[in-house]
Symmetry: C2
Subunit: 345 residues, 2 copies
C-alpha cells in the first residue's frame, strides 16, 4: 500500500509493462494479452490504483456523468422519481451530478455549471428550459431530456405522463358516477402539469355539457389543498366531487372535508388525486388517484438519453406515457363495471 495518488506509471513500473498497457488493462475492447492484463491487475490491486476519471474524460471526451436538474424535491412525488433515475443510471454505469433549482431560480443559471463538468447529457425534471439554453447544449452536442415537462418546438427529448388524457378520464369517471357539480384544485399556476390537468378536466366536462366546474388553487401543497377545499365549500354552490392536480393537495382536501367540514367521503364528496404517492395508500386516506408509470417513464428517458449520447444526430423524441387510475375509497364509482384498476400494493 502506497500513499497519495497512484498513477498508471506507478502501476506500469510495478508490473514491468508500459503505461499504455496499464491503460489497456482498464479499458474493455482493447488488444491486450490475458497475461499482461493479469499482471497489471495484480500490480494495481497491490498499489490501490484506480484510473483518474478527470484525465480519462479530458482525453476521451466522455465523462460518463449525467447532469440531473430537479426542483421541488419536497413534493413527495419527486423523491421517488429521483430514486428511480439514480438506480437506472447507476446500474448502467453512469454517475449523476445533481442540481437543485429553487422555485425562483432558472435552469439557465445552473446549466453552464453542469456543462463545465462535461456531462454527457442533461435531464431536467420539473423545471423548464429556455430555447437559448437548448441551443447552447446543441452546440456542445450535449443531449437534453425534459421529464414531465415539454417546451414547444425545442430540440430536446421529452417524456411526460398523459396529463390531458388522465384528466379527461377522471372527468368521465366522476360524471358517470352521477356527480353533478365538479371542482378542480389547481397546483402551481404556471406549470404545464397543472395547466394540462386543468385543461383536460375542463374540456371533457364541457364536451359532455355538464355544469362548469368550480376552481380553487392549492399550489401543490398539503396546506394549499386544505384551504382550497374550505374555500370551495364556502361558496354558494358546493361541489360533490373534487379533482386535485396532485395527491398532496387531495390529502389536505380530505382532512379539511372530514375533520373540519364534517362531511363523509365519498358519500357526500368524492376526491381524486394525481401521482399516487405513498401517502395516498395510507389506511387513513385510501385515495383514489392517477398513477403515472414512473419506472417506465424514467427507464425510457434514460434509454433515449444514452442512445442520443452515442448518436447525437438522432432527432429529439416527444413521448407521452399513459398511466392508470387507481381505485381506492375516496370516490364514488359508476354502476357499470369500470375496468377498475384495483390497488395491488
Amino acid at each position: 500500500m502506497t500513499r497519495g495518488r497512484v498513477t498508471s506509471f506507478d502501476v506500469a513500473k510495478e508490473a514491468g509493462v508500459s503505461q499504455s498497457a496499464v491503460s489497456r488493462a482498464f479499458n474493455s475492447g482493447t488488444s491486450i494479452s490475458e497475461k499482461t492484463r493479469l499482471r497489471v491487475e495484480a500490480a494495481a490491486e497491490k498499489l490501490g490504483y484506480r484510473p483518474n476519471a478527470m484525465a480519462r474524460t479530458l482525453i476521451s471526451r466522455r465523462s460518463n456523468m449525467i447532469g440531473l436538474v430537479m426542483a421541488d424535491i419536497v413534493n413527495p412525488f419527486y423523491p421517488a422519481v429521483l430514486d428511480t433515475f439514480m438506480r437506472s443510471f447507476q446500474q448502467l454505469g453512469h454517475r449523476v451530478m445533481l442540481f437543485m433549482v429553487a422555485r425562483d431560480q432558472q435552469v439557465s443559471d445552473v446549466l453552464p455549471q453542469l456543462l463545465e463538468y462535461q456531462v454527457d447529457g442533461v435531464v431536467i425534471t420539473s423545471a423548464t428550459l429556455s430555447p437559448e439554453m437548448v441551443e447552447h447544449c446543441q452546440r456542445l452536442q450535449t443531449p437534453v431530456t425534459l421529464f414531465n415537462r415539454y417546451v414547444e418546438g425545442i430540440q430536446a427529448d421529452s417524456i411526460c405522463c398523459d396529463n390531458i388524457g388522465a384528466s379527461r378520464a377522471i372527468a368521465d369517471l366522476l360524471l358517470d358516477a352521477g356527480h353533478r357539480q365538479l371542482a378542480f384544485i389547481a397546483g402551481v399556476r404556471n406549470t404545464s402539469t397543472s395547466q394540462d390537468r386543468e385543461q383536460g378536466f375542463f374540456s371533457r366536462i364541457h364536451e359532455r355539457r355538464a355544469t362548469a366546474p368550480l376552481k380553487a388553487e392549492g399550489h401543490y401543497q398539503y396546506q394549499g389543498g386544505y384551504e382550497a377545499a374550505l374555500a370551495l365549500f364556502a361558496g354558494e354552490t358546493k361541489p360533490d366531487a373534487i379533482f386535485c392536480a396532485n395527491d398532496l393537495m387531495a390529502l389536505g382536501a380530505i382532512d379539511a372535508i372530514r375533520n373540519q367540514l364534517k362531511l363523509n367521503i365519498p358519500e357526500q364528496v368524492s376526491v381524486i388525486g394525481f401521482d399516487d404517492i405513498k401517502e395516498a395508500s395510507w389506511k387513513n386516506y385510501q385515495l383514489t388517484t392517477y398513477r403515472p408509470r414512473v419506472e417506465k417513464m424514467v427507464n425510457t428517458a434514460v434509454e433515449n438519453m444514452l442512445e442520443r449520447i452515442s448518436n447525437p444526430e438522432r432527432p429529439a423524441l416527444q413521448l407521452i406515457e399513459a398511466g392508470e387510475i387507481v381505485i381506492r375509497q375516496t370516490a364514488r364509482l359508476p354502476e357499470t363495471i369500470y375496468q377498475p384498476i384495483v390497488d395491488e400494493r
Copy 2:
C-alpha cells in the same frame, strides 16, 4: 457564436492575449490588469467559452465536487436532508455527485467510483462505512463525514442528532404525564439510530424504576408502524403510551389505533414520533415529536467538510446536536409547565 468546444486558446486568439491571460481572467486572486480581464471576458462571452472543469481539476487537484452517499431516500426525512445539503453546497460553489445505495448494498461498493472522480470530500448519510474504506480515503487525503451515523474509533467527522438524550427526554415526558405502561416501536434493527433511541428510552425508564416498556418492530415504515401498534395491543398488557423511532411509524400507529382499534389519542393512548417530517404537522395527525435541527446539522457538516478539505491534517470531529420536542396533540402532558416547544410552523 462558434460551434463545438471552445478552448482558452480560441479565446486568447480572439482577445489578442496569451492563453495564460485567459486562465488568469477566470481565476480570482491572480495578477491581471483590469483592461486585459475585460478584453478576455468580452471574447469569452462572444465565443461562448466556459473553462473545462476536468482540465482544471487535473492540474489543480481540486474538483470542487463533493460525493454524497444516501440510502433510504423514500423515508420522508431524507429528502429534506438532501435538499438542505444541496442548497448548502451549491451556495458555497460546490458540485455534488450523488450516489444512492440500496439497502443490500455497501458503501464500499460505491466509494471507489466516487474517488475515481476526484471528489474533494465524501458525505455519507444513513449508511455505514468500513474502517478499511476510511483508511483508503485517508490515504487519498479525502475527508469523510458521517451524517446521523457514527462508527467508533474512525478517522471521520460525524454529526448526529442527540438520539439518546432525546429518547430519555421523551421517556421523562411520558412518565411525568402519568403514563404507566410505555411501549417502543423500533425502526430497522441494525441501525445505530434505532438502537440509540431504544437505548435512551429504555435506560431512562429503568433508571426511574418504572414498568419495563413493551416493544415491537416497524422497520421505519408506515405499514410497519401500523402493524406494530396492532401487535402491541394484541398482547396481555396494553400500553398507554407509544414512542416510535420515527414519525412514519408513528403515523401508521395512529391510524391503527384510531381507525382500527377505535381508541382515542391522546386520551387513551399517547403517541410520540421522531424526525418531525412534514406529514407530522398535517391537520389529521398533529403529531408530538422530536425535531432534530437538520439545517444546523447540515450546515455544520458542510462547514467542517470544507475546512478539512483545506486542512486535511485537522483531526476528525464527532459532534452531537440537540434538537427539541415539538408539542402537538398526540401525547398527554405533565401538569407542571413543561417548557413546551409549541409548533411554530
